[in-house]
Amino acid sequence: MQDSRSRASVKSLLKREIGKIRGRLKPPAYRGVWDVETIDRRRLNLLLALVLGLAGLPVFMLYVLLVMSSFANTMLSGPDIFSARYSIENWRMLFEGRLSPAAGQQYTTRDIIMIIVNTLVVALGVTAVVLVVSVMAGYAISRMRFRGRTRLMELMILLHAFPGVALIIAVYAIYVWTLGFIPTENTFAYKSYMMVYTVFARAALEIPMSIWLMKGFFDKIPWEVEWSALVDGASRFKVWREIIIPLVKPGISALAIFAFLAGWEDLIYVHVFLYPEIKTLATFIEEVVGSIETTYLPVVAAAGTLYLLPTILFFVLTQQLLLQALSGGVKA
């Protein structure tokens, strides 16, 4: 036990130290990484933009065609962009849930709004579970000592060798077995259980990857930050929550994108567990494209474009989080 005076002085010393570190991490405003200009920024920007633009040209073209097709009367692929008729008909049909026309322009209708809500619930649910679980575990593996640490990491990445599609046989068996305990009469509980199981099962697939990713980000945080807080008498959990988390925002943003996309685009799990009561955009699009022999593709193009919008929005949001971590620095 130290006497209170020297302890207080250590404390104040460390506080000053943290202040310094925070100061370093908090530049006046974020303007790219080049605080000291030694080369022609414009030239570098131009060069990189040109190279990336050229390499991405085919992709860019494909998506222009996709968006144009969503307004056209045929799925565009080339010269037909000049001969096609354009209208917002496809979008109207999509929101009315009318898809592939058959003889006499008939449609099976679908509740597209409900489908979007389902997709959001699954995607955000997966994101939430993945974020909480892997940020905790990544911290433990990066910052704490315990036996089998290296082994655990190895095991975790190797788990990825087991493809979801193979794993699903057994995950499905467990699902069927546990579903037996839920009373079928209570449809709401039944459906909720289906949803929750799907979210957790899907999130679990992302966990090993996320932990690996987070560990890398935690590794970069200077130890001084944590020590000083611990010396302050904060608990390990409190330090994790209040000091460390804000420092790994870039990692969290990357993680959030992957987790969100995983939930948003999942086909196999959603299909196996939720069909036919609950449908998401991805399974819905898959179903429509699945009958490519007769399907009316421009509506699929519209559905595909619609599908992209929330993901882009989510991406931009997480990117702001990332930049904020860089320019805003750490808040106490």
């Binding site: 045929t74 322009q105 008939q106 649910g125």
Partner: protein, 581 residues
């Protein structure tokens, strides 16, 4: 800072959703478990408690048996269940198909309505309820796999309309109800006029597992304008009496080759023959039958690789592709951009198609109008003007013409009626009731309506008669028919858009093809064999393999899987002296 708050809000919402759902799920579980132990749950309230004290048991009717008289059987069953205190039976139905085929599901709803009307008329306090009928867009394969999965958790439908090919695997796993005895009882009444060839589609290993629902056939379409061009250039009138000549076996694939060559060499069309992409099953399988081959040994129940027939089929494709009568990359053409536009704008003399194409061409923008340059749908009149059709010709002289059908059938789950009270005790009764529903769903008028609005062929003669009856069709067009309001509303728009005299005439006429129809094997491993055949066709078309090499390839692929080798008999030799054309 704003975006941080946004993120926080999103985060909170997510957590609330997840937590809420979890709590409700858990609580739901807690609160409902005790209630299930009590005798009554809210959904099935009074009957058990109120009826048991009343002395109904004294006059409990005898356990009913099916007699073949639908009305009487229904009344007996309803009285029996009603006496047991059950006033309502719930059933579920799933189906899939294009949007016009909604009756694959709603015919059952209509059947329930009709049965309930009979009960009402007889003053019996009993009702059949169809819970949450599902009609899914798309093919039956996915529906079948969904059924399988749902069966594991007992959430499967009691009735499903799906392709007949699922019967074999489903029976092997015990998913289907054996209705042989029921069918026997009804053979001479309600089921008397069903087409015999289609009843074989529901028979597996001598037992019956379903009733036909609808079917189609695969005609060979001929372009009239291309044929006219050939006549003009060479003087040969290809279409003169062609349908009869094909039916008699006078025009065979050797002639088709000849005509195709004329068309291409004289610049009448770009191609001689076009056919489906991506799969040999089912359209191209017709070649095997047309060359007198078979795919299944009726005695052993094994699949058959009929080497001579398969060789001749592959040779025809190979030869035609080499002479540029069939495109070498036919198997990877695109439906919407290449195949249909080429067919509807006359870039080929022959199209190996199906009866459903007749309306497909009227429903999507495939046709580029030569006058206006506009891309549009064909009208019914134009389809009739452009296309002549025949059976799929015999492969060579001495063989018979064919067509091929893949009927959809009503399947009854082996656990049908599972959602009803006292299931274990009363399951026989519930099974009979489901069977009656299915029989009723095949009422001639329902079959006829379904055929007309979805461009399928009817599965029974009485329905075919109705389709040919102009007065009745007129009434249908005006919706002046006896249907429940729910079902009428479901099909009103479809009827309005599809009941067209030209199309109805086509259906009535195309039903005649069914006399020559063949079925693909119902064997669980048939799809595997069909996949191999597809690869063989693809490689001969592209010129990667000669027909002989392709046959060897098929054999080696079969032998590579011990399970497949076990169930496929390889019959015959490559007829190396065979000449084509």
């Amino acid at each position: 800072m704003v975006s941080q708050r946004n993120l926080l809000i999103i985060g909170i919402i997510v957590i609330i959703i997840v937590a809420g759902v979890a709590i409700i799920a858990l609580r739901g579980k807690e609160t409902t478990t005790p209630t299930t132990t009590q005798p009554s749950t809210p959904s099935t309230p009074a009957p058990q408690t109120t009826t048991s004290p009343t002395p109904t048991e004294t006059k409990t009717p005898e356990k009913p048996k099916l007699t073949g008289n639908l009305e009487q059987d229904l009344i007996n069953i309803a009285r029996y269940l009603s006496a047991k205190g059950i006033k309502e039976a719930k059933f579920t139905v799933w189906s899939a198909g294009d949007p016009n085929s909604v009756l694959r599901t709603y015919a059952i709803v209509e059947a329930a309505y009709r049965l309930n009307k009979i009960l009402e008329k007889n003053g019996i306090d009993f009702k059949i309820v169809i819970v949450n009928p599902q009609f899914k867009r798309g093919g039956g394969d996915e529906l079948a796999s969904d059924f399988i999965k749902a069966f594991q958790s007992k959430t499967n439908p009691d009735i499903m309309a799906n392709s007949f090919k699922h019967i074999a695997p489903f029976v092997e796993e015990g998913y289907l109800l054996d209705i042989t005895d029921y069918v026997k009882a009804y053979k001479n009444t309600e089921l008397k006029d069903y087409y015999e060839s289609l009843m074989t589609a529901v028979t597996y290993k001598g037992r019956i597992y379903g009733l036909p629902q609808d079917t189609e056939a695969r005609p060979l379409y001929w372009r009239t304008d291309v044929a006219a061009c050939i006549k003009e250039k060479t003087g040969v009138d290809v279409l003169a009496g062609l349908a009869e000549k094909v039916e008699k076996g006078e025009v065979t694939w050797k002639d088709v080759y000849k005509y195709a060559k004329m068309a291409v060499e004289n610049g009448c069309s770009e191609w001689g023959v076009l056919h489906r992409k991506g799969s040999a099953h089912p359209d191209l399988i017709q070649f095997i039958f047309a060359f007198g081959g078979m795919l299944e040994d009726p005695n052993t129940g094994k699949l058959v690789l009929d080497v001579p027939a398969v060789y001749k089929w592959l040779y025809v494709e190979w030869k035609m592709a080499r002479d540029k009568l069939i495109p070498a990359d036919m198997m990877s053409w695109d439906w919407a951009k290449q195949i249909h536009p080429s067919v509807v704008s006359g870039k080929t003399l022959v199209w190996i198609g199906g009866t459903w194409h007749w309306t497909e061409w009227q429903s999507k923008d495939y046709y580029k109008d030569p006058k206006t340059g506009e891309v549009r749908k064909l009208t019914a009149e134009e389809v009739k003007k452009f296309f002549y059709y025949t059976l799929f010709p015999a492969g060579e002289p001495g063989q018979k013409p064919v067509t091929l059908s893949q009927p959809f059938v009503w399947l009854i789950a082996s656990n049908a009626g599972k959602d009803n009270p006292n299931y274990d005790e009363l399951k026989d009764i519930y099974h009979m009731l489901v069977f009656l529903l299915v029989v009723k769903a095949n009422d001639p008028d329902l079959v006829a309506i379904h055929s007309i609005i979805s461009a399928h062929l009817p599965i029974r003669e009485k329905a075919a008669e109705l389709i040919a009856d102009k007065a009745w069709v007129d009434k249908l067009a005006k919706l002046e028919i006896e249907l429940s309001d729910e079902v009428k509303a479901k099909i009103a728009e479809i009827v309005e858009a599809t009941v067209n005299p030209i199309n109805v005439e086509f259906l009535a006429d195309a039903s005649k093809l069914l006399k020559y129809t063949h079925l693909t094997p119902m064997h669980p491993r048939y799809p595997q064999l069909a996949d191999i055949l597809r690869d063989a066709v693809d490689s001969v078309l592209r010129g990667e393999r000669t027909p002989e090499e392709a046959v060897q390839y098929v054999i080696s692929k079969i032998k590579a899987d011990p399970e497949l080798a076990k169930v496929v008999e390889i019959k015959g030799e490559v007829p190396s002296s065979w000449q084509f054309p």
